[in-house]
Amino acid sequence: MRSVSETVVPIKAHSQHQQALRSLAPELEQRIMTLLSEVKDPELPMLSIQDLGILRSIGWSCDEQLVVNISPTYSGCPAVEAIRVNIIEHLANHGYQNVLVIEQLSPAWTTEWMTEQGKAALKAHGIAAPLAHGCSKPVPVSGLECPQCNSTNTGLITEFGSTACKAMYNCHSCFETFDYFKAF
């Protein structure tokens, strides 16, 4: 683990990485994208990094490194660090050794980039998917659909849940609590 993480560059000034990337040959691009779709969010393992909407682009750097651009989610989210390491490891296991993962801060990640497939996977695992508005609106105090029984007879417990990205709700119909992936 250590040797892999050491190959990961620290978060560096955005401007230094504004180099133009050369695109990959279509066949290689597809192979890499397939491999990347197998990298999951360690805290939400039903979501690939594509589903989560954090995989921005891939390409060759001028010194022939395979560059993977990802958008960090919440600024202190420990999952991002793990995802970086997992990308490097997974690609290395499939023969791609010279990989650079870059955290691209701008534009800032938003839950609007989450795929429909990702939202469905969240619901299937009992987590309400983010509503289609940003973080300027408060999370709903009531009426959010329960991902387990689909009732809207629900109430907010707390806007801050088990991870930075989630709020916690109570369902008054099935009496289960559930997480809501907050719009961000």
Binding site: P10, I11, Y74, S75, G76, L105, S106, F160, M168, K182
Partner: protein, 250 residues
């Protein structure tokens, strides 16, 4: 380490603000009055730590050092955070009022900083602004709940307001360095934010049945590294592991 210039000094200031307050908020982890607040404090502290890391990492590229050295190897006199951020967490009323003051400032500040001519600062500001909007809703809500709560909670909130009131001025002080950066389109003018901040505070205090303190006073010095006695103790705690085991990793 390279000699700091205006930009790296400015970035370090913002980083120190985030680091120091993040550390203070994290002192509530496992100590908060209820489980929901405990989780919220831990989440908010993590946002601050993340913000500090982005800023330290950026400063480190300019200063040819590392984010860890900037956070863990500088003494209190080298820290340039604003004084309000470093004050001990106090009771829950004190931490709530401090958080509301700073959240209300941060939403205004980072919303503007998104337009900074410095691309990296603008990118960090855009992420930070999103998080601040969640933070200020919670701290404002707590202000109202505790202010318009019991006699005991109301009186503690009013005491906290009185104790913090004079620290607010420092939020709006523009020194020569920041003024120069404002002219270059990098930093933003703090003083311009005060009318909106004052209005937001007044609006909340009315709803929370609290009063603007009658006595006004001013303390400042954080940007010059002149701190309260509390910062050194906090840094001891925060930096001890890294200084005892240089270069330690998980």
């Amino acid at each position: 380490m390279t000699e700091p210039d205006n930009l790296s000094t400015y970035v370090l200031r913002l980083a120190d603000d985030a680091m120091v307050l993040g550390q203070r908020i994290s002192e509530w982890t496992s100590n908060s009055p209820n489980l929901e607040e405990d989780i919220a404090n831990s989440n908010v502290a993590l946002d601050y730590l993340g913000r500090a890391r982005m800023l330290y990492a950026y400063a480190a590229t300019m200063l040819n050092t590392t984010e860890d050295d900037l956070a863990f190897m500088r003494d209190a006199r080298q820290y340039t955070n604003l004084l309000m951020h470093e004050l001990p967490k106090g009771d829950y009323a004190f931490s709530t009022v401090r958080q509301f003051f700073i959240d209300s400032f941060d939403v205004l500040y980072f919303e503007q900083l998104i337009h900074s001519g410095d691309a990296q600062l603008a990118a960090i500001a855009a992420k930070t602004f999103k998080e601040c909007q969640y933070h200020v809703r919670r701290s404002r809500d707590l202000m109202v709940r505790l202010g318009d709560g019991t006699d005991e909670s109301n009186s503690r909130m009013q005491t906290a307001l009185d104790e913090l009131w004079g620290y607010r001025h420092e939020l709006f002080m523009d020194d020569e360095l920041e003024t120069e950066l404002q002219q270059q389109g990098v930093a933003i003018t703090r003083a311009d934010l005060q009318p909106k901040w004052d209005a937001a505070i007044q609006d909340c205090l009315t709803e929370a049945t609290l009063s603007i303190p009658e006595a006004d006073w001013t303390v400042s010095g954080g940007r010059a590294g002149v701190h309260s006695e509390h910062l050194g103790h906090m840094l001891d705690d925060m930096q001890c592991l890294h200084r005892s085991h240089p270069g330690v990793t998980w």
